[in-house]
């Protein structure tokens, strides 16, 4: 069962990686960047929960690692928005 979950997580990561590359080719830069960053958050979450095995760990650690991910993605998104506005 664990092996199945890990393999599903891996296949999910591969799909998200392909989707990331496809999203980066979109002509609309805003949409492309928003999708690429959202997909990075989704991939990171799979690694945190399934590979690092924090799905059943204390919520504090899931929160810490997810906050690290979300914080960087948000900062990158904010920078893109600022550059577009200035």
């Amino acid at each position: 069962m664990v092996r199945d979950r890990l393999t599903l997580a891996w296949l999910n990561l591969l799909s998200l990686a392909i989707a990331t590359l496809a999203a980066s080719l979109l002509p609309n830069r805003w949409l492309a960047d928003a999708l690429v960053l959202s997909l990075a958050l989704a991939k990171g979450r799979v690694i945190v929960l399934d590979f690092l095995g924090l799905r059943h760990a204390p919520a504090l650690w899931r929160g810490l690692l997810t906050s690290w991910l979300a914080g960087l993605v948000a900062l990158a998104g904010l920078a893109v928005a600022l550059r577009a506005l200035v």
Partner: protein, 192 residues
């Protein structure tokens, strides 16, 4: 037994570090590494905002598809490492060793692809002092590459005997390296 003799605790309590896979001290290292990479990536994002033209020109010289290939290589290596940890927990050390060996092999493939990429970039005129973009790019990716090498060494050590806690400890470090790449890749290569 002497009163001064060392008596190992049977039920160690680590407070906030309880309930995590592997040795709790590894998580202190993982957290400090994430803080270091977070600060570097944050500095890159801020520097790009201040210097958008130079950073856009630098990013245009990078090989996105090759870096995307490395994402596939690294997440597959993470999968193999996770399977190795699951096998070690399931008391199958021989199976665990094979998965860990595959994870290390894919780590070597990541390094080979990254060095190929460096070679192309340097041949195209990029260097540490070419621009602020390339200074930060080589610093970030080089620091990450060092962690890939260190992770392979750790996996090699824990994979030797494949004791469950040791394998969980080593693979946790490996997944941290994977996690950092997942965020670093779009910020450096894709987001315009």
């Amino acid at each position: 037994m002497s009163a001064l003799a060392y008596e190992p605790e049977t039920t160690e309590r680590w407070g906030l570090l309880d309930g995590l896979p592997g040795d709790p001290m590894m998580w202190v290292l993982i957290l400090s590494e994430l803080v270091a990479f977070g600060l570097l990536l944050g500095a890159f994002v801020v520097a790009r905002t201040v210097n958008p033209v130079v950073f856009a020109a630098g990013q245009a010289m990078l090989d996105g598809p090759l870096a995307a290939l490395n994402t596939v290589v690294l997440v597959t290596s993470g999968w193999a490492a996770a399977r190795g940890a699951a096998a070690a927990r399931g008391a199958s050390p021989a199976v665990a060793r094979r998965w860990i060996a595959l994870a290390i092999l894919l780590g070597a493939a990541f390094i080979a692809v990254k060095l190929t990429e460096y070679g192309r970039e340097i041949a195209a005129g990029a260097g540490l002092e070419t621009s602020p973009f390339f200074t930060l790019y080589f610093l970030l990716t080089g620091f990450h590459l060092l962690h890939v090498v260190l992770g392979m060494v750790i996996l090699g050590i824990v994979g030797r005997h494949s004791a469950p806690t040791s394998v969980e400890t080593g693979t946790a470090f490996w997944h941290m390296v994977d996690l950092v790449w997942i965020v670093m890749f779009p910020i450096l290569y894709l987001v315009g």
